[in-house]
Amino acid sequence: MTRAATGPVQVTGEVLGVKRAGAFHHLTLVAAGVAERFRPGTFVALTVGGDLSQRLLRRTFPIYRARPTGAYGGTVEVVLATGDDGSDWLSRLGGGARLDVLGPLGRPFALPKEPVTCTLVGGGHASAPLFGLAERLRERGCAVHMVLGAATETRLFGALEARRAAKTVIVTTEDGSVGMRGSVSAVLPDLLARTSTDVVYASGPHGLLHAAAEAAEAHGAWSQTAVETDMPCGTGVCQACVLPVVGEDGVTRMVRACTEGPVFRGDRVRWRDLGTVPSGTWGAPPPAPTGGPAR
């Protein structure tokens, strides 16, 4: 049901197809209205398990590509990792399968008004949302450089596409199976300096985001980080996706990754305190957990 012309819609999506992409799966859905509203960094929340599913929580995925029109109507594409039962179920779907789609959800990457120089940093399949971002940046005349990291070659996503999307592409793998051996943090400071990067955009595991934010800070660039975290509802009602973020007033608040994020300014997120409620947080400390459900 759609009530606003902007903001998310809830529609029945139809699977166009699922393709393997290295260790990942690439799912294309027909979902009316989502692509039109898409901005890079936003995500979709998909139901899993089918009609008789015992899995109530949606799985959320940043949008990889969005095409408002096409032979089948508007489509959105996402990249799935396996290992979670819901994502595994999605990866086995055949064309024509239907699921409930919410999206686009969340705050997108903030785009620069000027044609500045940008470095995009992605980890594993979480690099997916960076390609749509690169396109929009290039449309605005920005110079785009890209760093893609992964544990090993099969867990790298979009390395080929990156060559089209970016001027410079650096690939790192922890096992050295392709590109440079090591993590993205080893190459970032040098790249930012070399390219005179103004804005760093990052999407990936927390460690990568933290490293990207620190490298940006050290270099004097802005950073925008898309935080990966469990999002039980994706719509802001459950309060389970919170992380400590420092506001303009200098006060730390537990904010929702799904609605206040998933994209945050990298210098605002208290990376070292993820998974905790740091003391001094607005409204903290609650009475210590007592072993009883508290609400």
């Binding site: 009530r3 109530l56 009602v237 609650p286 508290a294």
Partner: protein, 310 residues
């Protein structure tokens, strides 16, 4: 299709239909705006409002279970000041029927919350969260529960029902209901989540930041039906609101048949943010296809001998 009168009475206040959101599962209603019209629901129950702002428990705050979730958020929220300044006015402006859930840590806190909520315009009802804090066992112990209800009822104007929300895991939900009604509650909400726990596959330690949490969702629906049934059986004149695992119009009907005058939808909102509106429509269809014309006629109907109509 038979035309259906969905209106119901919540302890004397008429609601256009019996489907509300459940406390803590719809924030303060605003987040649902893209997916449904809050004014078209029977009511919107806010997350439990505390006196002071609260940051809540550390994450993880929710794990998925079979047909349910286990959660412990630690009542994160802006406190009564923030709530009255922004959240309540939004609901009122949208013409939603606002049911304000309050959670205090002491009788004095409950009294102050009651006073401040009771003095605010546009409040349809007050729901007293007695399932928290667990250690004070207020929702389990008839004496503690009735003391809280007593102070709240004193400070909320007549005409605004005070509903006591109870824990399901007690010797006798009937005894607690009897006690809170005697203390002035205009109705009870049955029931809160069931205490549960999960262990993380990786750390082999408790999966929730708060160690234990509350189990909710379709998994526990049968438990809610039983609580409503028991209370309506023993105390047929008490207004009961049923909550627990409502996913479809039939689940809502089941609670009405067991004796509830209204129902709340919680966990299913995470699955489907438009579900409360869908459930209103499905409930209408369930009644219509059985030639049942009024919600009022089905409340408690499962207690009547088969075939008996009213």
């Amino acid at each position: 299709m038979t035309a259906v009168d969905l209106s119901t009475s919540l302890a004397g206040v008429t609601l256009p239909n019996p489907v509300m959101t459940a406390a803590g599962c719809a924030a303060a209603g605003r987040e649902l705006e893209p997916f449904l019209d809050v004014a078209a629901l029977g009511g919107v129950v806010t997350r439990s409002v505390t006196l002071d702002p609260r940051a809540g428990w550390p994450p993880p705050r929710m794990v998925e279970t079979a047909s349910g979730v286990l959660s412990g958020t630690g009542l994160q929220g802006p406190g009564i000041g923030g709530f009255l300044a922004t959240e309540l006015p939004w609901l009122v402006q949208r013409q939603a029927r606002a049911v304000v859930s309050i959670a205090g840590e002491s009788l004095a806190e409950f009294a102050e919350l009651a006073r401040r909520v009771g003095n605010s315009p546009g409040v349809t009802a007050v729901e007293v969260n007695l399932g928290w804090p667990e250690d004070a066992a207020t929702g389990r112990d008839p004496y503690q529960a009735s003391k809280v209800v007593n102070v709240v009822r004193r400070d909320v104007p007549r005409g605004i029902p005070v509903l006591a929300k109870l824990a399901p895991v007690v010797h006798s939900v009937v005894d607690v209901t009897r006690a809170v009604v005697k203390a002035g509650a205009d109705g009870v909400v049955l029931a809160h989540t069931v205490p549960g726990m999960a262990i993380d596959r990786r750390t082999l330690r408790p999966a929730l930041g708060g160690v234990t949490g509350g189990l909710s969702g379709p998994a526990v629906h049968a438990l809610a039906v039983r609580c409503v049934w028991e209370v309506h059986q023993a105390l047929p004149d008490v207004c009961v609101v049923g909550v627990g695992g409502v996913r479809t119009g039939y689940d809502a009907l089941e609670l009405l048949l067991a004796g509830a005058s209204a129902v709340q939808v919680g966990t299913m909102i995470f699955h489907d943010p438009s579900s409360p509106a869908r459930i209103v429509a499905e409930l209408e269809a369930e009644l219509s296809q059985r030639n049942l014309t009024r919600v009022a006629d089905v409340v408690g109907r499962a207690h009547r001998p088969e075939g008996e109509l009213s």
